[in-house]
């Protein structure tokens, strides 16, 4: 392997592959500013633990929505059931932790393996099922899982959820616990953001765009669509399962009802669409917006359950490019994907 430095980019030569990594400061300036802002935020609101929980929740939502930005283009279909993998990650972490007493790092390994395994098992669906039917199948999958947890209530504690999961960090003082967990969630979100961003800016992102647009033509151009679809689905499912792992260990409880039903799916879908219509950085903006909105509206009392979907509906219909579009509208945007539910 050879590494050289040419014109503000590092070039890696591995056998006969050549990979580049740009290190121009102009390209990194805005993202670095945003990351610095996000990193300082927990310190500012450190005195109120509920705000820290709010930030962590927002980061969890963002961590689910970020791999979806790759998945929705990379498999060419809309996945209406990402919460299935959240459920898998969360239940695996919860069960292992409660019954075997494993600490979070041990369960992480198992969750990653399970995420990859289930992603691999379900990935033939992306090649067999046509657009609309794939969306329906993914819509039904979490419900099957939920019914499963109800039937085997003694293991999964369907109605009430599992509790007593080993917490993520335990440094003694509760305040430091919350702060460290918040930074941990931020780190997890930023790591997955970095990975997906690198992927989407490379040739794999171009392949995903080609698959989303017209699979058959891409295959005629020489792209192995089945292989890339399976790869995309498996890896993104693993990333979503890790989010479930984090949620289980952070909250200490994990109930299927919270995560596997329609309202959670709607929230994730809305984050993807309001944030930026499938745009990657929009996911973070959308996640923070939805989490803060949900919390802010609780001051209205019970009416907030009505106002919350209403506000989201208004935003969905007025903002064509989502919230992130307000930032990028005047900038040149290279790829504006159409999300396809039914192929025409």
């Amino acid at each position: 392997m050879r590494i050289e430095h040419k014109r503000a980019r590092l070039v890696f030569h591995i056998r006969d592959l050549k990979l580049e990594w740009a290190i121009e400061p102009r390209y990194w300036r805005n993202p670095l500013l945003a990351v610095a802002g996000l990193a300082l935020l927990p310190l500012v609101i450190m005195s109120k633990p509920d705000y820290l929980t709010l930030l962590t929740t927002a980061n969890i939502y963002a961590a689910v929505a970020i791999p979806l930005a790759w998945q929705m283009a990379g498999i060419g279909r809309m996945n209406f059931g990402p919460q299935f993998f959240v459920g898998i990650g969360g239940f695996a972490a919860a069960l292992l932790s409660i019954h075997l007493g494993w600490n979070p790092w041990q369960t992480l390994g198992i969750v990653i393996l399970l995420g990859l395994a289930f992603g691999l098992i379900l990935s033939p669906l992306t090649t067999i099922a046509k657009g609309l039917y794939f969306s329906l199948i993914t819509l039904i999958l979490p419900l099957i899982f939920l019914e499963f947890t109800y039937v085997y209530t003694d293991i999964f504690k369907g109605e009430t959820g599992l509790s007593g999961i080993v917490p993520l960090v335990n440094l003694g003082r509760i305040r430091t616990n919350y702060l460290v967990s918040c930074y941990f969630s931020l780190g997890m979100t930023l790591l997955s953001l970095y990975i997906v961003d690198k992927v989407l800016r490379s040739r794999i992102g171009l392949y995903a765009a080609a698959i989303n647009d017209d699979e058959e033509v891409a295959e005629t151009c020489g792209l192995n669509i089945n292989g890339w679809k399976i790869l995309c689905f498996t890896i993104t499912s693993m990333m979503i399962a890790v989010t479930g792992w984090f949620a289980a260990h952070y909250y200490g409880t994990f109930a299927g009802i919270t995560y596997l039903q329609l309202p959670f799916m709607v929230k994730i879908l809305l984050i993807v669409m309001i944030g930026g219509r499938g745009e990657l950085y929009g996911s973070i903006v959308g996640a923070y917006f939805v989490a803060f909105l949900e919390q802010a509206l609780t001051i209205l009392g019970p009416v907030n359950y009505i106002v919350f979907p209403f506000v989201l509906l208004v935003m969905l219909s007025t903002l064509r490019e989502g919230l992130y579009g307000l930032y990028r509208r005047h900038k040149y945007r290279e790829y504006y994907p159409t999300m396809r539910v039914r192929k025409r």
């Binding site: 171009l206 392949y207 765009a209 033509v217 891409a218 151009c221 020489g222 792209l223 790829y335 159409t338």
Partner: protein, 243 residues
């Protein structure tokens, strides 16, 4: 022998689209495929490029049997095609469109993503679309879309390109530009071309050999001069009375 087809048959339910067609194409040849509408020309092209699965017969490309192979494997072997109604990737720019062709074609050692896009811009410049490289494919005109199709097919470094009716719908100025483009392609890249076309002027001038399909069967094959004066062909196109 670059492409050899033996007794290729394709049925759609009860309709026989292609019936026991056999042909062969040598390296460096420019072969035209003509026939009235509905003769099965595009179906034949879809069968060769792997888009459809054939019901019977054998296709051999460059010594490798590609009957029933997946389209991307066929593309890696060196067979490219364009579509009669252009099918670009609508949401991508012209540069990205050809970039897909460059990066997905045969595996090229030491080509990074940036190098691939550079090569794509070379292809675009060759077809004359360099000025439109950052335009979305949905905003291009018909001639530019046809040129983009050619550029994308060229980007996969093929040995044989199958061109499907590149002249349809172009006005005379654009048509002559398109013919010049294909001629330059032949001269510079020395590619074998298998050309479906309706415009007889092009067939007469540009091709060395012509194959005629009628109702899915191959009825003649030979140099253009002979084909045009063959009574069977005239009957197929214009009917019995005129022949």
């Amino acid at each position: 022998m670059l492409l050899k087809i033996e007794n290729l048959t394709k049925n759609f339910g009860g309709l026989v689209a292609v019936h026991e067609v056999s042909l062969s194409i040598e390296e460096g040849e420019i072969v035209g495929l003509i026939g009235p509408n509905g003769a099965g020309k595009t179906t034949l092209m879809n069968l060769i490029s792997g888009y459809y699965k054939c019901n019977a017969g054998k296709i051999e490309f460059d010594g490798v049997d590609i009957t029933g192979a997946k389209p991307h494997k066929i593309c890696h072997l060196g067979l490219g095609r364009t579509f009669q109604i252009p099918r670009p990737f609508q949401d991508l720019t012209a540069l990205a469109n050809v970039g897909v062709g460059v990066l997905c074609g045969k595996h090229r050692p030491h080509m990074s993503y940036g190098d691939g896009l550079l090569d794509a811009s070379h292809c675009l410049e060759f077809v004359g679309l360099f000025g439109k490289r950052n335009t979305l494919a949905r905003d291009l005109t018909l001639y530019e879309l046809r040129a983009l199709e050619l550029a994308r097919a060229l980007a996969t470094t093929p040995k044989l390109i199958m061109i499907d009716e590149v002249m349809a719908g172009l006005n005379p100025g654009e048509a002559s530009r398109a013919i010049n483009l294909v001629r330059r392609m032949i001269e510079e890249y020395h590619i074998t071309i298998f050309w479906i076309e309706h415009v007889m002027k092009v067939i007469m001038e540009a091709t060395e050999r012509v194959i005629v399909l009628h109702y899915g069967e191959k009825i003649a094959s030979g140099p253009p001069r002979e084909i045009v004066h063959d009574p069977k062909i005239i009957e197929a196109y214009l009917g019995e009375k005129i022949a």
